[in-house]
């Protein structure tokens, strides 16, 4: 009984005193999702990759302006339309101390593109390497990637892959790769507490990172800890309490709370995801281009950006982000013009306006409500219907017979090349063409661009396609949102990046 009493007292004192303070040389990141695995080749999760990228480096990476730059290679060139040659940096060490050579690179890519290579199963990342069919280790420091057919965006897709050690994979097996790490990255793994945190410490033998992204050298922080905090409000609370130094991916309504704090600030960066309202081009009323144009004129974008998005987004008049290759900056904007809406609707035979539904998944319901009320005011009477994401994607992307009117949705463009956003969302019958849009002129331009290797000509093809899409108005064009991070004012050497990576190689606490 006495022991029990003491135990209870101990419990009480815990409640009052709480737990110990943190070490200053650790950078803590409040992160929404845990890594699914630590195997760079065996997942299909952006968050997992963000964590892994601090342990493993890739052949190529992106600088702060999202330009593709060399990381583990000293140079690369395209030797013919289907062959790329990479010269590896010499003396790059894995955490185990082994040198990285072309053997490791070949092994890495074989593991990704060949069947049944990971514990008898195929890598879910194969699709990210398109028509890559063969990897040749020419000599100890030279690797060739051979494609089945021309694929202009190979360099833009390589930052998504990290190089593993052949010897290490053979030693620990594919099962071991899921929980252990031996990369060439700036940090090595200390401990992964599932669902709770991933701790890494500085790798003293680091080769220094991409010379295109100074400063080059070992990591500046002693340790980096990704703390997994799924709830937005809790991540912000952890930031305000000083439990974390970076809180990632926050909603706009939390900006004010962070800005009013003395210790933390908000950092924003334009993301790579284009938002739009997909209009069902296959059925009345939106099969009529006049009504689609009316919908674009009916949306007071400025008002919504200002009131709902707190101006943390860049309006667009087409599909591409201003940061993307081939972005056409002179696309005409559909101004907010209720009189014109009325005129267009009358012309289309609906003088009294139309009644439509707007599908949206829960997390964007608030924005959809705002859009709906603005459209309604202009005569496009909109009822917002909230659904689950996967259900909506099935409805809009899989079902042959499209039944909805409008869908507030988005498409990511991590490579910042039109290739993985333009054709998928607007090519006839393509995998992300929720609007059911089909224009043979656009299809022709996109198809020509996908094999064109001259950048200027390729950009021109995309420019023409963007003008055509803008004129056809298959969607209500919306915006590219900024990603919002809450960051401790003590944190230096780190800026959010458009690809939502959190690379902490150069970060330190003041």
């Amino acid at each position: 009984m006495k022991a029990l009493k003491q135990l209870m007292l101990l419990g009480l004192s815990t409640l009052v005193l709480g737990s110990g303070a943190s070490q200053a040389a650790d950078i803590r990141v409040g992160f929404g999702l845990d890594a699914l695995t630590l195997d760079p080749g065996n997942h299909r999760s952006r968050e997992t990759e963000t964590i892994i990228r601090n342990l493993y480096d890739g052949l190529l990476t992106r600088d702060s302006k999202m330009q593709v730059v060399p990381e583990l290679v000293s140079s690369w060139k395209q030797t013919d339309v289907t062959t790329y040659e990479f010269k590896l940096r010499q003396g790059v060490k894995f955490h185990s101390g082994d040198e990285m050579t072309s053997d490791d690179v070949k092994f890495t890519f074989d593991r990704l593109i060949k069947k049944d290579m990971i514990d008898g199963k195929s890598s879910p990342r194969a699709g990210l390497l398109g028509p890559l069919k063969e990897v040749v280790a020419v000599d100890k420091y030279t690797v060739q990637l051979k494609l089945e057919k021309p694929w202009a965006i190979l360099p833009s897709m390589l930052p998504f892959q990290e190089v593993v050690s052949k010897a290490f994979v053979q030693k620990v097996g594919d099962k071991g790769m899921a929980t252990q790490a031996n990369g060439t990255g700036p940090f090595k793994l200390v401990e992964w507490r599932r669902g709770d945190s991933i701790t890494m410490e500085r790798f003293a033998g680091y080769y220094g990172g991409s010379p295109s992204i100074p400063p080059v050298g070992p990591a500046r922080a002693d340790r980096v800890i990704f703390k997994i905090i799924p709830e937005n409000a809790s991540r912000v609370a952890a930031l305000l309490a000083g439990d974390v130094d970076i809180a990632t991916e926050l909603p706009v309504h939390m900006i004010k709370q962070i800005e009013s704090s003395r210790n933390a600030q908000v950092l924003k960066v334009r993301g790579t995801r284009s938002f739009y309202v997909s209009l069902n081009n296959t059925k009345p009323p939106f099969d009529n281009p006049l009504i689609r144009k009316a919908a674009n004129h009916a949306l007071d974008k400025k008002l919504i950006l200002d009131r709902v998005m707190q101006n943390a987004a860049t309006p667009i008049n087409g599909v591409l982000s201003p940061d993307a290759f081939g972005f056409e900056k002179d696309l005409p904007a559909y101004d907010y013009n209720p009189a014109k809406v009325k005129q267009l609707l009358t012309q289309a035979g609906y003088p009294n306006g139309i009644d439509v539904t707007l599908d949206v998944e829960g997390s964007f319901a608030e924005i959809a409500q705002a859009i709906g009320s603005v459209l309604t005011k202009a005569g496009i009477r909109t009822k917002v219907v909230v659904g689950e994401g996967t259900v909506l994607r099935t409805k809009w992307l899989q079902d042959k017979n499209k039944t909805g009117n409008m869908w507030l949705t988005s498409w990511g463009n991590g490579s910042l090349d039109p290739e993985d956003i333009f054709a998928p969302t607007l090519g006839t019958g393509d995998r992300g063409n929720s609007a059911g849009y089909s224009n043979l002129v656009v299809d022709g331009l996109l198809s020509a661009a996908s094999t064109e290797t001259n950048p200027a000509k390729r950009a021109d093809l995309f420019s023409k396609a963007q003008r055509q899409v803008n004129a056809d108005a298959p969607w209500i064009f919306l915006w590219v949102p900024q990603d919002i991070y809450g960051v401790s004012k003590r944190l230096k050497g780190w800026q959010p990046s458009a690809d939502s990576r959190v690379n902490l190689h150069r970060a330190y606490l003041e």
Binding site: G18, P230, A238, K395, Q398, D420
Partner: protein, 335 residues
């Protein structure tokens, strides 16, 4: 209870588990969404790559075949590979389960420790300010959403007072030998009080968030049944015999009055398991609930199946345990 009865109760588990499996399987079958599509997201994949993934996930088989496969494998404890973790489901669940059990037990303890004394007090001091305060308090506890209450606690104790850590289960420095997988218990076994304090600190807010609403429900039940028991003849008789008030209350009345409380507590374990999904998300508690929620959104069928079976099993067993407890509280109860 005789062994035959015990065996009978255990055998009853089989149809329950089969039924749960079938219902979960059918629900997942009719829910739109394809795990392969979800996994690939917006990126391109050739039909061959898609097919390879489908085969890896066992989705190339027909639904009835899949169900039979699942039952065959589950019977020998193999629940398949988690689509997204790409590791055995049982491994993923076992990594997370101890945290959830620890949290649930802590909440249960908090619930009972608050509810029973307050319930008795409210009943004995019926219609006094104490009774009214307890009633109002329990009404608040029942009506407050756990999500909101958790954030409130977090702002108060985590951000303003900075007494308690905001999220997670342990400090990075917390290293004790793993024996039971319950961090609080392991720390005590290792006599490492620094880690114990840290573990209790991390456990405090999630356990309170989960435990207080339960305390509110149990308090009302205890009060009600206590009031009823106190009016019975045997209590009056005990008082007439000249027994002390304490003796009458705790040895005679409370024992009987606790039966509805035990029933309710066992039933509440169901809501604890459900509620822990929300609380684990709010407090970044690395438990099973969070993985289940993520799995539902990503249609990670093998993990959902296994986890829900586990929940069902726990629920049935806890209620069985409650039945056993009745026989202790009132020897006249026979199972």
């Amino acid at each position: 209870m005789n062994p035959a009865k015990l065996l009978e109760r255990l055998l009853q588990l089989i149809p329950v588990m089969l039924g749960v499996s079938a219902i979960v399987f059918i629900m997942m079958l009719v829910t739109p969404g394809d795990p392969v599509d979800i996994m690939l997201g917006e990126q391109q994949a050739t039909p061959e790559q898609r097919q390879a993934l489908r085969k890896d996930m066992g989705l190339d088989l027909l639904a009835p075949q899949r169900f039979v496969h699942f039952l065959q494998n589950a019977a020998v404890g193999n629940f398949g590979i988690s689509y997204f973790h790409r590791r055995p489901v049982i491994e993923v669940i076992m990594e997370r389960l101890p945290a959830t059990i620890e949290l649930t037990l802590a909440a249960l303890v908090i619930g009972l420790v608050i509810a029973v004394p307050l319930g008795v007090l409210a009943a004995v001091r019926k219609n006094t300010w104490m009774d009214r305060l307890a009633t109002v308090g329990s009404l608040l506890g029942i009506s407050m959403p756990g999500f909101w209450f958790g954030l409130l606690l977090m702002m108060l104790f985590g951000v303003w007072m900075q007494w308690l850590p905001i999220s997670g289960r342990s400090d990075l420095a917390s290293q004790v030998p793993v024996v039971t997988h319950f961090l609080t218990v392991d720390a005590l076994l290792a006599l490492n009080f620094t880690v114990f304090r840290s573990a209790m600190g991390h456990l405090a807010m999630p356990a309170l968030t989960l435990g207080l609403p339960m305390a509110a429900v149990l308090m009302r039940v205890t009060r009600g049944s206590m009031l009823e028991v106190l009016q019975q003849d045997y209590v009056t008789f005990a008082q007439a015999k000249g027994l002390t008030r304490q003796r009458v209350l705790f040895s005679h009345a409370l024992k009987n009055a606790l039966i509805p409380t035990v029933t309710m507590a066992a039933l509440e374990v169901g809501s604890l398991l459900g509620g822990s999904m929300i609380v684990e998300t709010v407090f970044g508690w690395p438990g099973l609930g969070r993985v289940v929620v993520e799995s539902i959104f990503t249609r990670n069928y093998p993990l959902i199946q296994a986890a829900i079976l586990l929940y069902a099993l726990t629920y049935v067993l806890v209620n069985f345990l409650a039945d056993l407890l009745y026989t202790q509280l009132n020897p006249r109860v026979r199972l």
